[in-house]
């Protein structure tokens, strides 16, 4: 099939970007979206143009590298898929496809479709961990944890840190990302001791890094490729409140 692409091109962090149109023929339904971009890049390189820079690595929806805003949605059409899992079967001959990087103040564009998401690591550094040194762990089965709590913690912990939640949010809030980690660790007895402090530290850092506030529109949950639930934000709020009362 033939598709019409409109892709954000930007030389580097300091230059201005613009949309460039490409018509790509010979696209197969069996391609993934990124394989379609690989194909475009091959075409561009062969005719002496610069290929489109985009981020990707595992190409199976788990590393969180891929991060394209496709036709106005993070990771494109469909639910519970990352860009690398998106297949061209979703599109048909003659379709227009607009491809942009994540748009958020805290995720500045580095080149073309690559945005700098290191702000997420900074938030994690503020408290996204359990303070246990290697060697001081007790025997694993000495900490029984209710299966339900453990399963819910797992669901929260499946966050891949891609940033779709931020890209989807009109305020570019990172609440779902922060909530997933706070909730994951608060649900486990190993992580309880620090949970209020963790919530406060991570939220403070999030604000400091320029992410917007949460107004509970739920856009993040709708676009999260891992289906992280908004309920985790409620738990984050409880932990945050506790931190406020304690301090």
């Amino acid at each position: 099939m033939e598709i019409k692409l409109k892709i954000w091109r930007q030389k580097n962090a300091t230059s201005e970007g613009t949309f460039i149109d490409y018509i790509l023929t010979g696209v197969s339904e069996e391609m993934s979206f990124l394989e379609m971009l690989d194909f475009l890049n091959t075409t561009l390189i062969e005719r002496g143009d610069e290929p489109v820079a985009f981020e990707h690595d595992c190409r199976e929806g788990i590393c969180g590298s891929c991060s394209l805003y496709i036709n106005g949605r993070p990771h494109g059409p469909g639910n519970l898929v990352t860009t690398c899992e998106l297949r061209m079967t979703r599109f048909k001959d003659g379709d227009n496809i607009v491809v942009e990087p994540w748009r958020a103040k805290s995720f500045p564009v580095i080149k073309d479709l690559i945005a700098d998401r290191s702000a997420f690591d900074k938030i994690m550094e503020a408290g996204g961990f359990i303070s246990v040194n290697t060697g001081s762990a007790p025997e694993a089965n000495s900490i029984p944890i209710m299966k339900e709590a453990s399963d819910e913690a797992f669901d929260a912990a499946t966050c891949i840190g891609c940033g779709a939640c931020v890209a989807a949010c009109k305020n570019s809030s990172a609440m779902l990302f922060v909530a997933a980690k706070v909730s994951h660790l608060a649900l486990l007895s190993q992580g309880r001791a620090e949970s209020a402090r963790r919530a406060r530290a991570m939220v403070t850092k999030m604000d400091e890094l320029g992410f917007g506030s949460c107004t509970n529109t739920g856009a993040c949950e709708a676009e999260c490729p891992k289906g992280i639930s908004l309920a985790h934000i409620a738990r984050l709020n409880r932990e945050f409140l506790k931190a406020g009362i304690k301090s």
């Binding site: 580097n12 197969s28 069996e30 391609m31 990124l34 394989e35 690989d38 091959t42 561009l44 390189i45 062969e46 002496g48 820079a53 981020e55 990707h56 690595d57 595992c58 190409r59 199976e60 929806g61 788990i62 590393c63 969180g64 590298s65 898929v81 899992e85 297949r87 079967t89 080149k111 690559i114 700098d116 998401r117 290191s118 997420f120 690591d121 994690m124 550094e125 996204g128 961990f129 359990i130 246990v132 290697t134 762990a137 007790p138 025997e139 694993a140 089965n141 029984p144 944890i145 209710m146 453990s150 399963d151 913690a153 797992f154 912990a157 499946t158 891949i160 994951h184 660790l185 190993q190």
Partner: protein
């Protein structure tokens, strides 16, 4: 004859590690704070080493090519992590885990290293649980286990099909805590291009900043490579497309011996190739073989829909050939058996290059809910890619390049042949012999990083406490930086007509066909010739757009492929040298009448370690003889 001193401690097997820990030199806390360590790679082995070394007080400089350390490819490990906890009371023990790994590796690894890997496995689970890894639990609240290929006990801890992600994020969280404390400086988006050696010791690395293109110098008292494997040499593999051998290969060319490079695991259960543009193959966890049954039609070229083929017209060939282990035979055995059926014309799918993995009986027996609980995310992943719902009809699977047992040679301290250069996790050769058992990779990575390296590196660094900070202002750094720069300029200057990827695809094809699941001398020699001419063509006609001084993903790929051209040759050379079959290395010339791998213990019970002797020269082979004092070498039968 051999330059290889493995430094295995004296004493009974079960006491070696304890004795060693009691005798290695220590570095006092004040001195640790004066010592710098570089760690390249932030997967499970790198991240666990970084956090632990930083907790001990060393100053760490950590490097990864990804935008965040959390994305390293350990994240994609699916099925689980082994430990000898014996929670199931099914007779498991450290010795049995050790014995299974050794046997699974077809007796081509070191007893002492393997025993130690098994020994620290229990502590690893404790550590990961304490760090918040949400492993699967039973309703009692205690940890659950499942069984995995090649063994007869249930010792695998898991977090659905995302065990690697959860373990990695656990280790990453420990590491970022140390970044926040200022004990770790994180350098994201860096490719290591070269190793810097001063007075015979590893003292630093040269990196390329993947954003600015700048060539940078970094120094330390010791360098640790945790840079993973080289399975992407096949182009299509289950690895992340960014995975590469560049760091390890640079170290090799600077004097680190490379061991058993031809030992590559071809994973039996990957989603088959769908089209010619495909960039990678997606793994379906081996854990699926716990409940899935593998079959092909009994009739050649049977084009009926799988659900329309009656049970008695299906050949459950693993159950038929290996009644004791059935669908749970080790990976190499399962892969070859699939290839054998497909080559014989019984394969399914359009290309005839796939077999069925069927869950219908398990769903009947346990219910859909139970299967969903165990494998839900894998089934979803399969459906997303293929459009087929595996609850209703069987998956189609085929083997794919996966894990490299070979890697940099290390001694018992995990130090390479270059003093001060260590290699951990998949980047070393040490624990898995000629074939790795499922759920053994996470186990080794975390064990190396949390519990082994932090002890053994002290033995080296204790003699470095008087060494001041290493300056990057030296002729050695000048030279290494210039060489890196020259290499990149040379690549850019080719300015040919063919894309990097087209070369990578062609190299991958040669390796897959001639140095993949089945090898023979004629084919390997042909491969070496073809690689040599492809390499020549690459350096004459590769086309890399853009410049060095910017984000240039094509240049990144070109560096990787240039290394693979050299590594591919060495893999073939190693495979030619080893005329026996063992584990994943199957030489057609050496098989039993039933078509199983035939080891030749008298001649090949050694680690083949290769020394680089400069461009244009052949590698020199060094043998480290393997001794088995605690187990009897058996024929590896799973019948």
């Amino acid at each position: 004859m051999s330059k290889l001193k493995s430094k295995i401690p004296e004493g009974p097997l079960a006491e070696k590690w304890t004795r060693h820990k009691n005798s290695v030199k220590l570095v006092n806390p004040a001195n640790k704070a004066k010592l710098d360590i570089i760690v390249v790679g932030t997967g499970l082995s790198g991240a666990s080493a970084i956090s632990t070394l930083a907790e001990l007080g060393y100053n760490i400089k950590a490097f990864c090519f990804q935008d965040s350390p959390r994305r390293a490819h350990s994240v994609a490990a699916q099925g689980g992590i082994n430990a000898a906890k014996n929670y199931k009371n099914d007779g498991d023990s450290v010795f049995r885990l050790f014995n299974d790994i050794l046997k699974g590796g077809d007796y081509r690894s070191r007893e002492a290293n393997v025993y130690r890997a098994a020994e620290v496995s229990n502590q690893t689970i404790d550590q990961l649980v304490a760090a918040g890894v949400p492993f699967a639990r039973e309703y009692s609240g205690y940890l659950d286990n499942r069984s995995f290929g090649g063994v007869q006990v249930s010792r695998t801890f898991y977090a659905k099909g995302q065990t690697g992600q959860q373990c990695l994020l656990g280790a990453y969280s420990g590491m970022i805590r140390q970044i926040a404390k200022g004990k770790v400086t994180m350098y994201n988006r860096r490719d290591m291009l070269d190793l810097v050696i001063i007075d015979g010791k590893a003292r630093g690395i040269i990196t390329r900043n993947l954003v600015t293109g700048e060539i940078e110098r970094h120094s330390a008292h010791a360098v640790v490579l945790a840079s993973g494997g080289y399975g992407t040499i096949y182009y299509l593999s289950t690895l992340a497309v960014g995975s590469n051998a560049t760091a390890a290969w640079a170290a090799h060319k600077k004097g680190a011996f490379f061991s058993n490079p031809s030992f590559v695991q071809i994973h039996p259960t990957s989603i088959p190739q769908l089209n010619d543009y495909q960039a990678k193959l997606t793994l379906m966890s081996e854990s699926l073989r716990n409940d899935g049954r593998i079959w092909v039609p009994k009739k050649k070229g049977d084009k009926r829909h799988p659900v329309d083929i009656p049970k008695d017209e299906r050949d459950y060939y693993l159950e038929r050939r290996y009644p004791a282990f059935g669908n749970l035979v080790p990976r190499d055995v399962a892969s070859r058996a699939a290839k054998e059926r497909c080559d014989a014309g019984y394969g399914v799918g359009e290309s005839g290059l796939s077999v069925y993995l069927d869950f219908s009986r398990a769903i009947e027996r346990l219910g859909k809910k139970a299967i969903e609980n165990k494998y839900g995310n894998l089934f979803e992943m399969y459906e997303k890619i293929t459009g087929i719902n595996p609850y209703n009809e069987p998956m189609r699977i085929y083997p794919a390049g996966h894990y490299t047992m070979g890697g940099l040679w290390v001694d018992y301290n995990l130090m390479t042949t270059i003093p001060g250069l260590f290699a951990i996790g998949e980047s070393n050769f040490s624990d898995h012999g000629a074939n790795r058992l499922g759920a053994g990779s996470l186990m080794q990575c975390a064990g190396d990083g949390y519990f082994i390296l932090p002890v053994t590196i002290g033995d080296y660094l204790a003699d470095e406490i008087k060494t001041p900070k290493i300056s990057t202002d030296s002729s050695e750094f000048d030279k290494a930086e210039k060489e890196s720069h020259d290499k990149l300029s040379k690549l850019m200057a080719v300015n040919g007509t063919q894309t990097v990827t087209s070369f990578h695809r062609r190299l991958g094809r040669i390796m897959w066909d001639l140095c993949g699941m089945v090898r023979n001398e004629k084919g390997l020699k042909k491969a070496m010739k073809e690689i040599a001419s492809l390499r020549e063509e690459f350096w004459k006609d590769v086309k890399i757009p853009g410049t060095i001084d910017e984000v240039n993903q094509e240049l990144e790929k070109a560096v990787k492929v240039a290394d693979f051209m050299e590594l591919g040759k060495l893999m073939c050379q190693d495979a030619i040298n080893r005329k026996e079959s063992c584990g994943a290395h199957f030489r057609e010339e050496s098989q039993t009448p039933e078509g199983e791998a035939q080891r030749i213990d008298d001649e090949y019970s050694y680690v083949a370690s290769w020394e680089y002797l400069g461009e244009g020269n052949d590698h020199a082979l060094h043998q480290e003889k393997l001794a088995f004092d605690n187990v009897k070498m058996q024929e590896r039968s799973y019948k």
